[in-house]
Subunit: 208 residues, 2 copies
DNA sequence: TTTGTTTACTTAACACTGTTAACTACATTT
DNA sequence: AAATGTAGTTAACAGTGTTAAGTAAACAAA
């Protein structure tokens, strides 16, 4: 009696179809600027059909949110090959910036979109996609400290500090709150310049 | 014939009344969650009246945006009294964090809200509120470098780097993307802990 | 003081939004 | 073949930003 299996499969396919369209549209126009009707139009179904597969617009966001964290992890897998902890940390930073700039809208969905908050609060311990990525960072920081490549310090604070710096640069770069404030030439290179300054400073701290 | 003057005054008062209500509501509920009708209700006028004083909802945002930058400057005035450049820079950082946490919604309006971008682009050179604040930062950084309290380096890059770090910590603190990721006790102190680590590191870099 | 005109404001409407209730038409079970 | 379940639909509700048309009061001119 494979009939239930087939139905389940069809249901999963439909969910995937909706999610794919939603992701495309969110990335094209941003979460707020995409309506359920837009998504329905793209997949050629009635708007209400979407509500048979997802509780509401928020749930679509959450799914894509999680998808984003999986993608981010994908950017990190190649790093394991690098044996030097500090260099690995540096490459991790570069990968993070690469992910953010290559997937700007998705990055915003993951780290800026407010609506995700309550969902994460509700998920609580069960939400590990983000924990995974942050776990890798903490692990690298810890190894750096053990190898004498970072000063011995609270690993969590240090990881947060590194993450913040990159996130801040990325966000200030996205929102160009610097049109008249920064020199034209700097606007393009600011992310990399800031990143390099940051990591050189990290190096300086430990090399006395 | 002071009749035109009176009318002008009344018009300015009405603008102020609308702006005040809009600011209150934006801070209470966030920009996206406030409708023109909400604002109109609060001041007991019809929704369309607001359009006689402001082009659209965006223009309300822009006004409040500028208001926010004025407020931020206000947080910085007391700093001039501090003679030591590095200590002044540190206090400036603390003031920035204070402003952000005391005026969370306003801070988001200023540095996160996307819609502000095109307005700033259009304003271009004429928008100096932000330039003022960033100018003070650059000035302080430059003085630190001259006093040997920061390594000689590109002032703009260094200022951007400092600003980014604080902005990143503030934003990661606002969006608690760390519920399951950070230890409970750290969540409350993360901003200050991160800030202190950051400035201690800045000190370490220059003290060889 | 009685006209005409400008101005401040309102009502009604348009095209959109997320979401729900009621309905249809088909697939599955009996 | 009849009964049941269900995937998908249409219609609707209450809300959104925004505009066009209308009203009533304040002013200027006669």
């Amino acid at each position: 009696m494979g009939i239930n299996e087939r139905k389940e499969r069809e249901r999963a396919e439909m969910r995937e179809l909706i999610l794919k369209a939603a992701l495309e549209l969110f990335i094209e126009k941003g979460f707020e600027n995409v309506s359920i009707r837009n998504i329905a139009d793209r997949i050629e179904y009635s708007p209400t059909t979407i509500y048979l597969y997802f509780k509401d617009k928020q749930e679509l966001l959450h799914q894509i949110h999680d998808h984003g964290f999986s993608m981010l992890s994908g950017y990190f897998v190649a790093l394991a090959a690098e044996p030097n902890p500090f260099e690995r940390l540096r490459l991790m930073g570069l990968s993070y910036i690469k992910f953010a700039t290559e997937n700007q809208e998705l990055y915003e969905l993951m780290f800026v979109q407010q609506n995700a908050d309550e969902y994460l609060a509700q998920m609580g311990e069960d939400w590990d996609q983000g924990g995974d990525a942050f776990g890798i960072l903490k692990h690298n920081v810890e190894e750096c400290m053990r190898a004498g490549q970072l000063p011995l310090n609270n690993v969590e604070v240090y990881s947060f500090y590194i993450w913040s710096s990159l996130h801040g640069m990325i966000m200030l770069n996205f929102r160009q709150r610097c049109i008249s404030v920064l020199s034209e030439e700097f606007k393009k290179t600011m992310l990399i310049a800031g990143f390099e300054l940051f990591f050189n400073n990290l190096r300086l701290i430990t090399k006395p």
